[in-house]
């Protein structure tokens, strides 16, 4: 039966009655008309999906009508993470699919045209394929100037996306590599590339160590560089649970946020001074360990970290060299890292001093490094009140006890600095000293901001890696053997599992998945097909290459660089230098419409632009991987615009056309394209892609259950070894919805039968560090795994390495992905560019001198030609950017949704009452914010939540602003990134979005 809203309200109202009227109408009317079974306004929904916004990965249920249109979307009550709840964005999901602003045609913008024209899919695919082919053929390089085989083109860029499903991300990587693309990037570069580098260097894997539900097990939660309540709201279900059990919440932020509003301790900290802040905590903990070892887990520190290992006696650090490590070459802005290594014994095993007294042992070097980070110095740098800082140190260090756990939750306030990787290294060191890695309620929880940025990173839409964190081959690795030798670490220590010794199995299985029968042992499994890449090809480098005319065509699916890029004016101009640009999106994004942005004449812009209407997440099928590494399957729940297609379909149509063109017309190096295995049916079946990612035994044709089955002889395939086990003969593991658990699993909320998690469904990484040498949990009430001597195996979570406990024969150390089996307090060797331990430097633009050394800013960061630096005399105010709960990233996914625009309608800037008074700015008035790169207009939000910092006795103001806005969409406004500098992190070139200089005035 069809009921309109009005009908319903009649029914609803009809059951109510008013005393006054009741009497007049007679008794029968209301008594009769009081049925309790008021019909629901609409069906609740039965099809399941996963929210397309942040990396929490909440479940939602969708009801659709007979035309396939969604009529209701709300939280999935069975989903273990969100249990029916959603944040404001998730709650507004229905306006993503039912929205008159969605693209309803395929559009083409001819060179110099001022309008889009509608074209057919066939026409667009054909034209795009021909453009790609032309650019590729005209700019193909077989050998570089040194005569090394490179087989690549530098003229095509790829940028995107973390918004697509795993299967789509995987095909993007595969397609781009087959084309020989070197500038291959997506937003992971901009949000968490430093996480991958730092956590990899510390523990062996570059991902969030625990998962969202696990936060409930924590005794102390430090949220720093993250505003989780606003940007990962459902994390607060679990933060709240932990607090109900007595956990302490510490919020460290330059500004009092919605996260701070719930904190036991709010510590303000000037943007970009995290290493000083954490460095002081490390100093506190080290001194406390020496004074009160009984309060710390000395077994963990000595046996599971490299604290006891000895470093080369010639090593010198910032404490000796005024802010530098040994080996610095100022002319190259680079380090010779040959002294950042262990002392080895005659067997080639690192020497150690179990007493932690040797001046060259890691523990002593760490102590020396951070001895300079005393409370007075730290607080003069960070601007944190000293009493508050001491309280933070004491509260946090209290979790050093073996049965206590603390977790760090961080996000872009941490990851987007010139020394971001080292900030995350400092978190790692702190957590290792407290024995907080591998345990329930502990870990380093890198809060991923996009629903599938974890998956898109795992599947390597990034220039420097191949799926599963294999390395992109450089030209010097002339063949497969050389490449495998280069990247396979060795260890002489029988206690080290050295898991990466399996490298060859993974790369060969990948090449088999990509090139099928064309990949044979005699041709190095088609190793030559892979483009060889040398030098920085990351986001900022790509923007420079576009600007310089090296990159001529750009493919940008689901990515909005015209809002999200640093120094975005430069990037917008760059787009106008391209010959062609392909965008797929749900909306007319700023990137697609860059040629008609304000103060621009389309008639001056030559770029051909294709705008392809994409399906939204709930309109197609596939898996996405949340921040906690859970790969979750989502179903097609409803229909979007008829014309919209999945990215899976688009990339398949493109490769079909490319194969046809190279087959009929020939061209440069057609082999990787013609031989590319692409057999997913027509239209492509996403399950076949998911199965290819998992991998096969090529002799039996069976899906493999685990990467332990992969071989290096070409008899197995796997598109991504980390996902081997995700789609097996038993079925699609990511689609599992079973909430049953053993009591021990339920105790810590593991949910091992819900969805699937890499690696091997292991929910808490490094969990073998949660037990003592006998295999008993350090925290018996929150056991993650325990050795069952009767069964002779571990029970609980999937153990991180199934070897028996440390006291038994044939055991291995718990950090199986590092070459020595231990976690790294000191990151040895050629791993990090700017030091084996973190050192505080000032942001590249800073209002103050570095109080810790004579080295002002990170000494190895790349200074790009186009980079402009602001002087403190013109720009005395520190600025930072951030997000709000109601909008998301570059904004097109929320600024087009009326309900979210209602909540946060306009671009704004937040500033303190003191600064407002100094500048004559009134709350709600309009202001101009200016940096050396650009200027923006916004509404002033004058607030007590910002207050000036006292830095080295001097008053320093800081302001902050969201970066969601741009010139397209329902709500438009200036982009904060018109102000940010295009300078990146020393290790991963993630841009410095979070600390720069500006000035502000009333308009």
């Amino acid at each position: 039966m069809e009921l309109t809203r009005r009908d319903f309200l009649k029914l609803c109202g009809g059951t109510a009655g008013g005393a006054a009227i009741l009497g007049m109408l007679g008794p029968e009317s209301f008594l009769e008309a009081a049925p309790i079974d008021i019909p629901l306004r609409k069906r609740i929904g039965e099809k399941t999906t996963i929210c397309c916004y942040c990396g929490v990965g909440c479940g939602a249920i969708v009801a659709s009508d007979e035309n396939g249109k969604a009529i209701n979307i709300e939280g999935d009550p069975d989903h273990p993470i969100n249990q029916g709840a959603l944040c404001s964005k998730g709650t507004a999901l229905i306006q993503v699919t039912n929205n008159e602003r969605r693209l309803d045609r395929v559009s083409y913008r001819a060179p110099y045209s001022s309008d889009w024209e509608e074209v057919s899919w066939d026409w667009a695919i054909d034209k795009i394929a021909r453009n790609i082919k032309k650019t590729r053929d005209e700019n193909w390089t077989y050998k570089d100037e040194k005569g090394r085989v490179v087989n690549h083109t530098e003229a095509i860029g790829w940028d995107g996306s973390a918004a697509v499903n795993n299967e789509e991300a995987y095909l993007f990587t595969k397609f781009a590599r087959a084309l020989g693309i070197t500038y291959l990037e997506h937003c992971a570069r901009l949000c968490h590339s430093s996480t991958v580098a730092a956590l990899g260097a510390s523990f062996g894997r570059g991902a969030m160590t625990n998962h969202w539900i696990d936060i409930k097990n924590s005794n102390c939660i430090m949220i720093i560089g993250s505003n989780a309540a606003e940007n990962h709201p459902l994390s607060f279900k679990w933060v709240t649970k932990a607090m109900e059990e007595g956990a302490k919440l510490i919020s460290v932020d330059p500004r009092f946020t919605r996260t701070s509003s719930k904190a036991d301790i709010y510590a303000k900290m000037r943007s970009g001074t995290d290493i000083a802040f954490i460095g002081g905590m490390i100093k506190y903990v080290i001194e406390d360990i020496e004074g009160h070892p009984e309060n710390y887990n000395m077994t963990y520190i000595k046996e599971y970290t490299n604290a006891t290992l000895l470093i080369n006696p010639d090593f010198k650090g910032p404490a000796d060299l005024d802010g530098l490590f040994c080996g610095y070459d100022a002319s190259k802005r680079a380090y010779d890292r040959s002294k950042w290594v262990y002392q080895l014994d005659d067997k080639g095993i690192p020497k150690k001093d179990i007493s932690l007294k040797d001046p060259n042992c890691v523990f002593q070097l760490l102590k020396k490094q951070f001895s300079r980070y005393d409370v007075d110095t730290v607080c003069s740098i960070t601007g944190t009140p000293k009493d508050v800082y001491r309280e933070v140190c004491e509260t946090y260090a209290a979790t050093g006890k073996p049965d206590k756990a603390a977790t760090i939750i961080y996000a872009m306030g941490t990851t987007q600095h010139t020394y971001a990787t080292q900030i995350i290294r400092s978190y790692s060191i702190l957590q290792l000293l407290l024995g907080n890695i591998g345990i329930a309620g502990g870990g380093i929880n890198a809060a991923r901001g996009q629903s599938n940025v974890q998956g898109s990173t795992d599947h390597a839409i990034l220039y420097h890696i191949l799926p599963g964190y294999l390395k992109t081959p450089p030209p010097d690795d002339v063949d497969l053997e050389a490449y495998v030798k280069h990247y396979t670490p060795t260890s002489n220590d029988p206690l080290s599992a050295n898991w990466w010794q399996n490298y060859k199995k993974y790369i060969v299985s990948l090449l088999k998945a990509w090139y099928g029968d064309a990949a044979v042992a005699s041709n190095g499994f088609a190793y030559d097909y892979l483009p060889k890449v040398e030098g920085d090809h990351s986001h900022i480098a790509m923007a420079e290459a576009i600007e310089n005319g090296v990159v001529k065509g750009l493919i940008s699916p689901g990515h909005n660089t015209a809002v999200s890029g640093p120094n975005v004016n430069l990037e917008r101009e760059g787009l106008g230098k391209l010959d062609w640009l392909v965008v797929s999106d749900l909306w007319e994004s700023e990137t697609a419409a860059f040629w008609k942005r304000p103060r621009t004449a389309p008639s001056q812009i030559k770029t051909e632009v294709f705008l392809l209407p994409a399906q939204a997440s709930m309109e197609k099928e596939g898996s996405i991987t949340n921040s906690g590494r859970w790969s979750q399957w989502r179903y097609k729940c409803c229909d979007g615009p008829d014309i919209a297609r999945s990215d899976l379909w688009m990339v398949t149509e493109l490769i079909k056309k490319m194969k046809e063109l190279y087959d009929t017309e020939g061209g440069e190096y057609p082999d990787p394209i013609l031989n590319l295995a692409w057999d997913y049916g027509d239209p492509p079946d996403v399950h076949k892609v998911a199965q290819e990612i998992n991998g096969y035994d090529l002799e039996t044709g069976q899906l493999l259950p685990s990467f332990a089955n992969l071989k290096s002889d070409g008899t197995t395939s796997s598109g991504n070894w980390l996902y081997c086990g995700s789609y097996t003969e038993e079925g699609n593991m990511a689609a599992r919805r079973d909430v049953t658990q053993t009591p021990a699993q339920a105790n810590i909320g593991l949910y091992p039968n819900w969805a699937w998690c890499w690696p091997l469904n292991r929910r808490i990484l490094y969990n073998r560090a949660s037990v003592d040498l006998d295999g008993n949990p350090f925290a018996p009430d929150k056991s993650v795994i325990i050795w069952d001597p009767l069964l002779g195996k571990w029970v609980g979570d999937v153990p991180d390495g199934g070897w028996p406990p440390m006291f038994q024969q044939g055991t291995k150390l718990p950090f199986i992905m590092t070459s020595e089996g231990r976690a790294h307090l000191f990151a040895t060797g050629e791993v990090l560019n700017d030091g084996p331990m973190p050192e505080h430097y000032e942001p590249w633009e800073s209002p103050v001198k570095n109080l810790l050394s004579g080295i002002q800013s990170d000494p190895v960061v790349t200074i790009w030609k186009s980079l402009v630096k602001g002087d403190v005399s013109d720009y005395p105010i520190v600025a930072t950017t951030y997000r709000v709960s109601e909008h998301w990233q570059a904004g097109q996914m929320t600024r087009n949704l009326p309900w979210l625009v209602e909540l946060m309608p306009e671009m704004f800037v937040e500033l303190s009452e003191e600064l407002a008074e100094e500048k004559g700015i009134r709350n709600g008035g309009r202001v101009i914010v200016e940096s050396a790169r650009g200027k923006i207009e916004a509404v002033a939000v004058v607030t007590k939540r910002f207050s000036p910092f006292s830095i080295d006795g001097k008053k320093v103001h800081q302001i902050g602003m969201p970066w969601h806005w741009g010139y397209m969409g329902l709500s438009t406004g200036d982009s904060a990134n018109m102000l940010t500098p295009n300078i990146g992190d020393a290790n991963t070139t993630i841009p410095e979005y979070k600390a720069f200089l500006c000035n502000i005035r009333a308009k």
């Binding site: 039966m1 109510a16 049925p35 609409k42 709650t91 719930k262």
Partner: protein, 262 residues
């Protein structure tokens, strides 16, 4: 057993999922807003915004707090709107206060009378609208949309007696944690509110009247005194008398045809 909602402001993160969830379930349109120097938006409840979070910056450095309170119709037991409604459109359905849209004549008495400012009319002369306690969901065994959407459990739906008990315990915990003014609001106010609040400070800090009163006598006197009102009342009564039959038919029809699907 009476149902109720408990809003625990100490757990609210101000995410406003509740605000959107209400609009989603009831298909209420977005209203046009501006950034006026606060996160709070829309500025007021209205006929198309039945619930909202009020944001308040409170205290100074050191004791500074950012307060969020969900606001909506309180579903009072002694409900002013019910008392003053000339047509009986506003009335209790069990413990919930509902407005019959067909009977509402848009006079606006309830709008003026509500001590919480929770009732609004669609301009220029529309009917009165407000939070309906998701009565369709509740009577079908579901939580109200806002309570379900809330990430942190700051909104709890359940048996009133249980919630009152839980709220008292929570207040004690908060007092022990240093919120010396923490208080339960709504247990006894206006005969008991359908929305209970755990507050971390005095009600007035959260823009709640410390001693709300029923606005009957004054307003009732106004309209009973007017001849015009008497005529109006008579007319409405007759009109409703004839409407009534149709309505009952509609209900019976819906019963025989089963649940509603839109």
């Amino acid at each position: 057993m009476a149902k109720a909602m408990l809003v625990d402001v100490s757990k609210c993160i101000g995410c406003r999922s509740c605000q959107v969830a209400c609009k989603q379930w009831h298909d209420l349109p977005a209203v046009s807003t501006k950034q006026e120097g606060t996160y709070e938006n829309p500025p007021e409840l209205s006929a198309s915004t039945w619930t909202k979070i009020e944001f308040k910056e409170f205290g100074e450095d050191g004791t500074f707090r950012w307060l969020f309170r969900k606001h909506q119709c309180m579903h009072c037991t002694e409900a002013s709107c019910v008392e003053v409604c000339p047509t009986g459109a506003v009335a209790h359905h069990d413990e919930f206060v509902e407005i019959n849209q067909e009977w509402c004549i848009g006079c606006g008495y309830c709008v003026t009378a509500c001590p919480f400012g929770a009732v609004h009319r669609e301009p220029p002369k529309g009917t009165a609208r407000k939070c309906v306690f998701c009565i369709d969901r509740v009577t079908n065994g579901l939580e109200p949309a806002c309570a379900k959407a809330c990430p942190t459990g700051a909104i709890q739906f359940g048996e009133r007696a249980d919630l009152v008990e839980a709220a008292h315990r929570r207040v004690q915990t908060l007092i022990a944690e240093g919120y010396s003014n923490a208080v339960l609001y709504g247990e006894n106010e206006l005969g008991g509110l359908g929305y209970l609040y755990v507050l971390t400070d005095r009600p007035s800090v959260f823009n709640l009247p410390e001693n709300p009163e029923v606005a009957t006598s004054m307003v009732s006197a106004q309209w009973f005194s007017g001849i015009g009102t008497a005529v109006l009342l008579a007319a409405v009564s007759f009109w409703l008398f004839f409407k009534r039959k149709k309505r009952i038919e509609a209900i019976q029809q819906s019963k025989t045809e089963g649940g509603a699907e839109e």
